[in-house]
């Protein structure tokens, strides 16, 4: 097991309220695997990812519990000095907007140099230069020898995001966390980028955590998926199992509320209401106020996790309704 997160809790302490942004999240990642984390804005998916690298927004954000075992070592108990040897080298991140993740006053060659020099020892000067050009070629940048002297503003959005990708893989990390990496890209450029990530994964065996709000990306890229709602993972399982037999009402509603390209949809299912406001005190199932199946117990008590759904040992969901075996999906 490459990464095993158990009961991670990150709260944001503000004057008005304590926001339980990540409220007891557990998941795992194997080598070479892609895990999708799907959720709406405010579901806590980004703060969860930042917490893994101890980069939760301070001072309001604080990790208050849980552990994140990376090759058996707890990331949450490491000092900042130790974390510095892990960030970028063992676990790296690709953020949403390449415009803000690259420094506008340095050339991209400069920024890649930095990644190599701080990340790896024992590369001679000429070696670094060659490594920079090599990694740019790996991410399909045409004419990399010339591009190293370019500034970020001279590149298009798709190219910039590929440079960010090059920085992320420059130290051959074990895990890449990609937080909505393609939302700012055009459709055909997004397709190019996703194909690139897949190819890099095939050649390097890196584990990828894909944070997204789009089930389409999950369908295309991921092996397993975890669905987050209001700080909790409400359903988790292999991607086909989730698409064929979504078991949590939220997952079902999300999948049914997205228009399909492949067929004509007469009328989309729409989820009533809105996600809970941050800081709202929540008891019981977080989705209960919007759920058509919710009863009194759902509003009072958080449901336990039911395992082995759709006859798949890894498929789990938190919903009281699954107590009744007739509601549990079985594989056809």
């Amino acid at each position: 097991m490459l990464l095993e997160v158990k009961d991670l809790r990150t709260y944001l302490f503000t004057k008005r309220a304590t926001v339980k942004a990540v409220d007891g999240v557990s998941f795992y990642l194997r080598r070479g695997e892609t895990l999708g984390i799907v959720g709406e804005s405010g579901s806590g998916k980004s703060i969860m990812a930042l917490s893994l690298l101890q980069m939760e927004p301070k001072p309001a954000g604080r990790i208050v519990g849980g552990e994140a075992l990376f090759r058996g070592d707890d990331l949450l108990r490491k000092s900042q000095g130790e974390m510095r040897t892990i960030r970028g080298r063992r676990i790296s991140m690709i953020l949403q907007d390449p415009q803000t993740s690259l420094n506008p006053v340095f050339t991209i060659g400069n920024q890649l140099n930095e990644a190599f020099v701080t990340g790896k020892q024992g590369l001679a000067r000429g070696g670094v230069r060659k490594a920079v050009v090599d990694v740019l070629r790996k991410v399909n940048i045409a004419d990399p020898e010339r591009r190293v002297t370019a500034f970020p503003h001279q590149l298009s959005g798709g190219m910039k995001q590929r440079v960010v990708g090059a920085i992320a893989i420059s130290c051959s990390p074990d895990i890449v966390i990609a937080d909505e990496p393609t939302t700012s890209l055009d459709l055909t450029i997004q397709a190019q980028y996703l194909r690139l990530i897949k190819r890099l994964q095939d050649t390097t065996g890196v584990g990828v955590i894909f944070i997204t709000h789009d089930f389409g990306i999950v369908a295309k890229m991921c092996d397993r998926v975890a669905v987050m709602y209001a700080g909790k993972i409400v359903e988790h399982g292999p991607v086909r199992s989730i698409f064929n037999h979504p078991s949590h009402p939220y997952t079902q509603a999300l999948i049914n509320s997205v228009p399909k390209l492949e067929e004509r949809t007469e009328r989309l299912y729409s989820i009533p209401g809105q996600p809970p406001a941050p800081g709202q005190e929540l008891v019981g199932c977080r989705f209960a106020p919007r759920c058509e199946f919710a009863d009194e117990r759902c509003r009072q008590e958080y449901p336990p996790q039911f395992e082995g759904l759709s006859r798949h040992s890894e498929h789990t969901a938190d919903c009281w309704r699954l107590e009744d075996p007739t509601w549990r999906p079985s594989r056809h």
Binding site: H213, K220, S257, Q274
Partner: protein, 337 residues
């Protein structure tokens, strides 16, 4: 089909001159943002303009909203020609054409109350009494599913989905014929998108308004529209009824867009067409067919030298591609015979 379309756009062009820094008056190049676009939007129908950034969708919308003046071409709303509108006629036109934008955080003035935002299209025209205005505000707020009692609140008190409803209420208040929806759901959360799209569809019937939907998400275009026009570098490359386009896309660019779109299920297998490179700059667009440098189905020299015309293929499915030249010629010949 309706006898007269709500909106008719013919040969619309908008070219932006690029001047040199040292020689201010010299025009160094021309950006052809919109380069000869024609389409109709039928009464109570929705036309989706689909394309990637830089293809001219937003410039087209600005021209229709009369926020910019076309280089050439005509825009007609019913019997009114948009060009040379002044005074009362211009105000009337602006009442008839409204817009809902992508980001309801920046499109609503944070210092105005909801009732002021919603009634603005009415107040500007100063033709109605205060009581009428108040009644109309309550009516449209109710129509979009907001509580009319909240009319005194400010935008920050609402969520993204509700703000988009306020923007729609404001657009509907002057009883327009056409509303331009510029990426109306792409800034909203997934669970809010469906309710917003359903609302747009329901109100279209109720208010008998036409939509010009500007969108990059093909699945949204399929769900919301009656007709789709695909744009590339300032030109329409394919235009058809929605179901025709989605059942049989013809232009290689449309096919590539479909291949690039994300699947609805992990088992969906798509033809693998990944376009290399990026959309060329509209300052110096490629000769001939603008898509030829990236086209995986290029026939040969004709693509580099001759601009393909947008020609009808099988009934009402128009496509501009040399691949279909023979069929189009045959169809014209048989129609003439």
């Amino acid at each position: 089909m309706a006898s007269q379309p709500t909106l008719r756009v013919e040969g619309l062009k908008r070219h932006f001159p690029v001047t040199m820094w040292r020689r201010l008056k010299r025009v160094a190049a021309v950006v052809k943002a919109v380069d000869g676009v024609s389409f109709d939007v039928g009464e109570g129908e929705t036309l989706a303009l689909v394309g990637e950034s830089g293809c001219g969708k937003t410039t087209t919308a600005k021209l229709i909203l009369a926020l910019d003046t076309p280089t050439s071409g005509t825009i007609r709303l019913g019997d009114t020609d948009v060009q040379n509108l002044h005074g009362e006629a211009y105000r009337h036109y602006r009442e008839q054409v409204q817009a809902v934008f992508q980001d309801p955080w920046s499109s609503l003035n944070p210092r105005m109350r909801v009732k002021e935002i919603v009634s603005e299209p009415l107040v500007v025209n100063r033709r109605r009494s205060r009581r009428d205005i108040r009644a109309r505000v309550a009516e449209v707020l109710e129509a979009v599913g907001l509580n009319p009692a909240h009319a005194d609140r400010f935008p920050h008190e609402f969520s993204g989905g509700q703000r988009q409803r306020i923007a729609l209420a404001s657009a509907l208040s002057s009883d327009p014929k056409l509303i331009i929806l510029d990426e109306p759901v792409s800034s909203l959360d997934v669970s809010i998108r469906a309710q917003t799209m359903n609302l747009f569809r329901d109100l279209q019937g109720q208010f008998n308004v036409s939509y010009l939907l500007i969108v990059h998400d093909l699945a949204v275009a399929r769900y919301m529209s009656d007709e789709v026009a695909v744009m590339y570098l300032g030109k329409i490359v394919e235009h058809a009824r929605t179901e025709d386009l989605f059942s049989e896309p013809l232009h290689p660019y449309t096919k590539a867009l479909f291949a690039a779109a994300l699947p609805g299920h992990p088992d969906v297998e798509r033809e693998e067409i990944v376009l290399e490179g990026e959309v060329p700059s509209p300052i110096d667009p490629p000769s001939g067919c603008p898509f030829h440098p990236r086209c995986p189905m290029k026939i040969g020299e004709i693509c580099e030298t001759t601009v393909p015309a947008l020609r009808t293929h099988q009934g009402r499915h128009a496509v501009s591609c040399h691949l279909y030249d023979d069929e189009a010629a045959a169809a014209t010949a048989s129609a003439e015979a």
